[in-house]
Amino acid sequence: MKSIKQLSLWLKAIALLFAICTFGSCDDGSDCSMNNTSYNRVRLYSVNPITGKESVATYNGQLSVALMIEGRDSIVINRLTSASELTIPVSYAQQRDTVVLIYDNMYTDTLYVEHTNTPYFISLSCGTGMFHNLTGLQHTQSFIDSAVIVNHTINYDPNENIKLYIAQ
């Protein structure tokens, strides 16, 4: 009888242990990002001239994005339609990127994005990545009315980094 009672207590203790694990969100370290590249996330906005209220804007034509690499442009986003958000790569070694927005293959705006670069060790299993901190932003004004950095940190989080206010 005594041994049965002891066995029962043992089983309860083991069950408790597994219950804690089950509800304690055990993980196996497999929460690595699927894409080891961090992007500068840019969203288009417009401001209602009457109410002054801002809202997410959509460019209804075709919008392409090119990066200037060693004096030549390299298309990274090609003829995106109904664009309201752009994910733009950031250079690992440079501290100033030149980003060209091409509207309907006819007009352009240029963004000059200044940033720092931090090579980052994530974990032994997830590897390494490059994170950035935005430090400055200039732009031309064909379609862009103004631009503002809303989140300086560029990492794997899908946060918006830059608001681009386009002219009405």
Partner: protein
């Protein structure tokens, strides 16, 4: 007023302090050494606990853990080493008040643990997928702190005279780990790989130092 329990052996009603000090147990964990056989980590650990009324055992554990590993998939070489510390209690949940102390007993274990680890990372250069540039990543002597809690079950068994042995299995839950400017801790001595939770175990050789056997 001290907490008391009825002493029921031989029918008397003598009251005893349920926290009466009965002695010490000193032990060494040899399970950590076995990790070397199945992985790239190794640890050694010693502990001392106080026997209070044969049911409650406040315990302090001090260990040293290290790892030296290369991930063959991504080529990252990681080394870390540090002492770690745990404080907590073991609770003999089958203790009978007034009965003779058992030669062997099971217990529930609870611990709070921490370490201040120093680690090194030697990674292949990061290659920019657009611009094509390479950026090296080598970190030397980065320091980080980790805190975690452990709960588990174990047994403590008398072998011969004052010599005992025991084992325990523990569920470990990370409470906090510090992040450096450009890295995370990947291996936490005394805890294992830096995941939100994990399991661990101990296998202890124990020497009992009795002060009061009643």
């Amino acid at each position: 007023m001290a907490a008391t329990a009825q002493e029921s052996s031989k029918g008397d009603t003598k009251k005893e302090n349920i926290f009466a000090f009965k002695g010490f147990n000193v032990s060494a964990d040899i399970f950590g050494c076995a990790y070397r056989l199945i992985g790239n980590s190794i640890s050694g650990e010693a502990s001392i606990d106080a026997n209070l009324g044969h049911w409650l055992f406040p315990v302090v554990e001090v260990g040293y853990g290290s790892t030296n590993v290369t991930n063959s998939d991504n080529g990252i070489h990681y080394t870390a080493a540090a002492p770690y510390y745990r404080v907590g209690v073991n609770y003999n949940f089958l203790h009978k008040w007034g009965a003779k102390p058992a030669d062997s007993y099971p217990y529930l274990a609870a611990r709070f643990a921490w370490t201040n680890v120093k680690y090194n990372v030697d990674a292949p250069p990061l290659i920019d997928p657009i611009w094509g540039s390479e950026v090296p990543l080598t970190l030397d002597g980065v320091r980080g702190t980790a805190l975690w809690a452990e709960v588990g079950v174990g047994v403590n068994v008398k072998i011969w005279k004052n010599f005992r042995m025991g084992w325990s299995v523990r569920y470990k839950l990370r409470i906090k780990d510090s992040k450096a400017n450009n890295s995370n801790i990947s291996y936490i001595p005394g805890y294992g790989n830096n995941t939100g939770s994990t399991f661990g175990g101990t296998y202890n050789l124990i020497y009992e130092i009795p002060i009061n056997r009643k």
